[in-house]
Amino acid sequence: MGRLKGKIAVVTGGSRDIGRAISIKLASEGCKVVVNYLNSESGAKETVEEIKSMGQEAIAVKADVSDLNDIGALKEKVATAFGNKIDILVNNAGGLFARKTLQEFDEAFYDLVLNVNFKSTVFVSQAFEPLMGKGSAIINISSQAARDGGGGGSALYSSSKGAVTTFTRAMAKELGPKGIRVNAVCPGLIGTKFHDDFTKDEVRQKVAAGTPLRREGAAAEVADLVAYLASDEASFITGNNIDINGGLAFS
């Protein structure tokens, strides 16, 4: 469709699951895409190859987006590859890591979860905002967990996503006058490796059955929403946290 022709997008955690789907969707709409990854080098390379096979430009950049030095290095690599301007930032990197109750988690686990989900969103935004002009867009990936507190043992994950949701609103206020729109999406149960790793099959089946649309969502469906929010079609939408959950969570 080419709604995003010529734009430059940075997608953190773009090597797999929703991040990968977003990278590919943005490229399909005409973006040059920076696919950031930390662990999954092969996934990032596959994503970049898929984008290149569509005739679009993409680079894979390894960086721990919870580390300020790495964020600085990421920014330099983006500038070298595509110049000192980006149009779309998708703060997608995140993770649940493990399900732990209040009595099970320790300070190190707290830091890990909050850093990967929230600190990354804050400092990647801080790093790239100076490269963003009027008409550009930041999209944060929050979660249904931010709305409902999350499933068992995910209190820190859900709280970190709650922080992402609030930060989204605060940034919408701060950056709105500059013409930068900031929105978040809150995915419900999406069929991804994330849930393969952390959610039992019977729980997934139960949640899908209780969803009005009677199924899990697909990563590509979240990517469609992100691409829409990134485009000029959404020019009057900012500060929103949009639920994409098949009608499950009535937040």
């Binding site: 469906e221 009057f236 098949g246």
Partner: protein
Amino acid sequence: MSTEKKVTVITGATGGIGFQVAKRLGKEGYTVVLNGIEDEAGTQRVKELTSEGITAEYFGFDVTDEEAVNSNINKIGEKYGKIDALINNAGGLGGRSRFEEMTTEFYRGVMALNLDSTFFVSRASIPFLKKGESASIINYTSIAGWNAGGPGAGIYGTSKAAVHAITRALAKDLAEYGIRVNAVSPGTIDTPFHTQIKSTKPEVFASWKNNILLGRLGQPEEVASVISFLVSDDASFLTAETIQVGGGQGLGI
């Protein structure tokens, strides 16, 4: 008879946001059925759309009149064989009144305009939406549905809160047919609904603008683009959701 082209029915489509939605969906290839109560404007609007190569037809009826809704939606459904996108755009403030002076007639009028209309038209359309392709309904709520509206607009806010709830209720009820139901919540949009106050109360108008993060009023086209997305397959996992189109005015909702 079922037609291959997608069919949309847009209530209150002779002006403002509704007409822009008609234009947008028409350009995307939908056959557009416009509803309104100003027949002359309706005929004119159809001419405008037709001149742009859009297939359009006008049905004049009052969406608060149950009988009229039933007979007209039946006519539309039978003629086109299906409805793919129902846009419950008709609605309005219906005037301002404080509660002490509020007549029952005023109360019922505002509720009818916003809630009855959504209910009547949706109910009558369900048999035809079931024949549609990835069919969906779009309702219109408002920030007033959360903050209960400005001075004298308490019942307007109440009616919009009800539209918010009926959106979710319809989404639950119709999901088994694959029919999605979502809402848009337009903020201060550059239509006569809002701009008439520019001349009568400029200070109120200025205060609105100051509350919008993007520092300007929205354009009707910017609401139409959201609706175009919501009725498309790109929004295939979105149902029971309300999207604020207010340039950040509805922050916190």
